[in-house]
Symmetry: D2
């Protein structure tokens, strides 16, 4: 999967691609059929059917095209599956999708794709925690000037700046780790009535039907849940967590962009980007692309919230549909930015000489506060005026150690 | 505090008003001065000073006006405090604000105001959990038609619909309860250097200085923290949690608006609003105003995320400033919508007769799926076809019981 | 091009696809080379080169992949072109892209793709104006109840409701028609210095260089312009106009969704969508998908505004990059919704009997205002109380006639 | 009116304050009563009534409080007016508001407040055009380095940079000048039925009623219009134009912030802001506050679009209500940023020596492209390599002259 207009997109590979989503929907139907058979609701002949072999990229166009009339891609997929099964497994053709509604398939498939994307993001965050903890340790005593409202303020250390980056990444890691990705199993309107009806000959039709959520969750590696057709906090939490990641990275990128300006030159990307016409340029291209993402994510997350608040009836007309591609775009971009940030941090060059030189040049000004404080305390100024910089890095380092343990 | 253009605004009373924010800033300066004295950094004469008595609404205009030149309202407040202290407590005048930076005062005051707002929201959510749990219990067997994409789908119960509302409110309650509201104590650039300098005569200047975060937190009822000047997850979590609330309420409002249409008439607000020209109308005005909020919150939360990702240097030029009024507006509106939703739920009239009549009229159509399932299972259709509706309400009821315990 | 997660996406065909964008970039390079030759700046041997034949879908992956390091896809394309030209036209290889910067190529290619999308949207809006004008005329005297805050208010006509839809579409048409899509020709930093340098032997190097903007515009069917590298109103106007379209359509969709509820039944989509499990359902799927778009567009337009305001230096690091895929997504979705709305309007079934029945049933209530007015005027109520409904449709019909003339 | 959390807010004075909005609503009722009398619909005794004297700030709290139950502030105001008129003019009490609906009063009052805000913004934009035209002229030959992706690119002039700023401001001026602010006169559901009923004894009730839109528009200084209760392009255009302004200013602020970094020092605010703790700092506070606004506006405009697309029925339940405070906030902030930008530009200090020094230091690198071009052209490099910088300023200067003429 490529995207000429989102450089770096191929970092996300096939995650949440149409192909991946189609396969995820098939996985849902397959696991459901298996669960139906396992519970005794459907005949044993539909157990362990290999539906994935029946569907492939060749079906993308027909499913996509038919999805407009059905309003979503699940119904069209069911048609494909039924047709393919008709010749090979009549029971399968009869039982596929029974008990489910399109939203069950789409939402659960979204969660499968989200899980894969979140997994990649989580691993990247861990690696960033490692890289940043090293950076903090290495530069815990590297002096530099602190800047507020663009102007020189007082001395600080690059270790403390990097500790701030680390704290942001840790916050993003915590939020991402806390995500719960549930299966959606509710039937036409969240009552699971069709499945209960199908289970009518069992001792406990309702119990048998509701147990299938756990079966499906176990099979697919998701979490069991009561239906959440119109309770969309699952989606908004994903959006908020992803945006929390791009916030944390965007802030790092913003710092890198500022500090790699040639007049400042305190940081640089190890291997900068190229220019189509100016051979001398080494552009901070990773930081640029990360910042791009950070500027774009909040709006996508906002759309998920608008959709959540508009989720009326037992399935809303439009709000649900607005979520799918929004979530996909947001998560793919998050995966891309995750990789770019890791690479940025891994290759970051810290020019301690430039930091020292800037601080030296600004010395009189950035020590003026110290003088005022010393006057107030009735003493001569003491030391380097970096205060508790060294102490403040301990808390994020401890959190980092916890993550990496 | 009123807002003609946001009906219901007075429900938020003085929460996060300019007056409240000014008092919160004074509380920060007062507690800080006390902590400085308590630690032995400042003279004992500045302990337990009553700064609140020195500042009042009469200073709002001058502080507001001066805040443009200082870029924030803290510096102007310090000028007011110093002038007022000059005659009564020279030590106080000399020591007020020492060690802090404007951002410490503004951010901590924002957290104080946020805490009060979040407290009101949390209490409202609890009350809504109680009301909704009752509603779910009462209507666990009230049949109605489920609607998907605006059309009749299959039977459900109003108890299950209300259980979905409850789940949303519980999700919002969990997110709101998990919020951590820290003090901000970092000095000019997050190193606490000024305070360490002031503590130079103590045995452990750094330890004494950093201990003040806990002192301040304890005094103000907030959480201790290392400085978070440019790590703004605190702000985005507040925004996300508030929007999670308005999502949950907005979805309820959307349902109420639909179901109180005269052609449907299954729900109505106990006491509808009035019309300026049509005496017969009873408008669902609470649901209308709640939906208004739900449509507006996501954008405000998005602004907090954009600001977080742009938080460069040791204090960003603009991104930080964009947060203040955005957070205030978002939280006040959340408080207002909290009260409106509680009132809406408390007064909600459920027309079980209309629900039954609609379901009866739609019976053939909404039973068609049941027929197909029964055919597949090789049996006659059984029962009311509400499936696991009754079972699915148990989980949210159990969560509700946990909240209310 | 398909998009499983945005049903109906194939309505946009190849518009703004990666393939189309690649071809558009090639068209820019080709026209530029031709213009250089035509002006005497480059050798005649580079005129009328067929660059399109050198680049095809087989280059998508390599250009996409290389675009991350270059920060944009133009530099990678230039490498492809140079390599391909090396064997066949050494002058072409030497002169391709000379004088341009990546942003010139990307921005102008974006405008080419936008032009095609806007053209389709404009044609759809015209067709909608035609359909709506007919609908207004046909139903200028079709009585129905007006609804405010979901409740019955007073009588109106469906013609007047449709005239409101028409006005919205006309407003969208005006904004879309007013869009200006300029070429971008500025060189590395908007001074066109490289081209002026290349034109150094001509009588008027600056005049010859700046004249190329018009040459390029004429060749490509765009508008000449001075460089707008960091003046991004072009992008925000596109975003605002597109969102203006989806606003107008979303409002129609919202009305259709409400009025096609079974309890109301005054409108229906001619051919509703299908359900994967409930044979009786005819879902208002076009309105659903249009509303989906309307809920999603505003956020994308907001991202374009954030990017515009962050366009610092002579090329911003991130803000520019955030625009490309955002614009593409917004415009493709607008094209899709354009087609869906046209189809929705063309097939809309108006149930005048249901409208009449609703009005009749609500008669006492919706005439109460009339009674009060008649009392005030000291007369008996007169007529049908639709006031100036018929008069108010004339203005939009006249505007429509102007568009269709 | 102050806003501690939006420094500079008092620049907007009373524009769009609650007091101003209340007075605007009264102005609408007054002008309507007068128009009713003038047309012969209402008795002559209600002409030229001075309603403003009956309502003042003392009514704010009661109107605000009552507005929740009515859903908007107009109904509560009508109660106040009727009560006040009861003793002094029984006809006035009977006729006030007759024929109007709350939305007519609220929307027209919004337009009155918007007109005043837009007027201030327009005047500021004109002044900025003047200041920028001067800046462009003065610095048309001031060399500086152009920066792309934060890195030095090629030479340019500060005149050309300022010309880019000017173009943005001109674009904002054009959009602002094109705004049309209409009265809203539609009655309960946009049919004006009540007024037509009241006019029943006149020769042409419909003509007499619809003519009142023009009467009202003339009296209030707005534009006549058919009702636009649910066609909200008026609101979105206002939002888009305001955001277009803050985009243009935000981009200037972004440049000023970058170029006033001490390491660059090519620009500075004439009178920088102060620090609460660091005496040496001169913060670019105006640019900071302008950038704050630019980061915040797009989300507010997005809310207006969401509301427009959700404007169903003859008055939507929530979407309309979301507009009011959003528009007010957006426009007040735009007024504030307008003044801040004007002041920023008026006081901007241009350090041509620093510009020259940076360019000189970067000379080898930023001339590398020139060398490559000269090689290609087979000549020695010529001149200063600022290309058409001087030519490109002519077009914006000509536009500026048109505005200032």
């Amino acid at each position: 999967m490529n995207n000429l207009l989102w450089p770096g997109d191929e970092r996300a590979g096939d995650l949440f691609s149409d192909e991946a989503f189609l396969a995820a929907m098939v996985a849902v139907e397959e696991a459901w059929l298996d669960a139906l058979a396992g519970s005794g609701i459907a005949p044993a002949a539909v157990a362990k059917l290999d539906l994935q072999s029946l569907v492939g990229p060749q079906h993308l166009a027909v499913v996509a095209s038919a999805s407009e009339r059905g309003g979503n891609p699940a119904a069209a997929l069911v048609d494909v599956l039924r047709a393919a099964l008709a010749d090979v497994n009549a029971d399968g053709a009869a039982w596929v999708h029974r008990g489910l509604t399109s939203q069950d398939v789409v939402d659960t498939a979204l969660m499968l794709c989200a899980r894969d994307a979140v997994g990649v993001v989580g691993a990247a965050l861990r690696e960033q925690v490692r890289l940043l903890a090293e950076l903090v340790e290495r530069h815990r005593r590297t002096p530099m000037v602190a800047r507020t409202l663009t102007q020189h303020a007082v001395p600080t250390t690059f270790g403390l700046k990097a500790a701030g980056w680390l704290t942001g990444v840790l916050d993003a890691y915590d939020a991402t780790s806390a995500l719960v990705l549930p299966v959606q199993v509710g039937g036409a309107a969240g009552t699971l009535a069709a499945t209960v009806e199908l289970a009518g000959d069992l001792d406990d039709p309702v119990g048998s039907a509701t147990a299938l959520s756990l079966e499906l969750a176990t099979a697919l590696g998701l979490t069991a849940s009561t239906p959440w057709h119109t309770t969309r906090s699952t989606m908004t939490r994903l959006g908020d967590a992803a945006t929390g990641c791009t916030d944390a990275w965007g802030r790092i990128a913003t710092d890198v962009l500022t500090l790699s300006r040639p007049e400042i030159g305190e940081l640089s990307e190890g291997a900068g980007g190229t220019s189509s016409t100016m051979p001398h340029k080494a552009n901070p291209v990773l930081a640029t692309l990360v910042r791009r993402t950070a500027l774009s994510s909040p709006s996508l997350a906002a759309t998920l919230h608008v959709a959540a608040s508009d989720a009326g009836d037992e399935r809303p007309a439009g709000a649900w549909h607005a979520e799918w591609d929004t979530l996909r775009t947001l998560l793919r971009r998050t995966v891309v930015a995750a990789g770019q940030t890791t690479e940025l941090l891994a290759g970051l060059e810290v020019r301690t000489d430039r930091m020292a030189a800037t601080l030296e040049a600004a010395s009189d000004a950035v020590r003026s506060e110290q003088g005022a404080m010393a006057d107030l305390a009735g003493r001569a100024p003491s030391g380097d005026y970096v205060g508790a910089a060294d102490a403040f890095i301990e808390a994020p380092l401890a959190r980092a150690a916890g993550v990496l343990a």
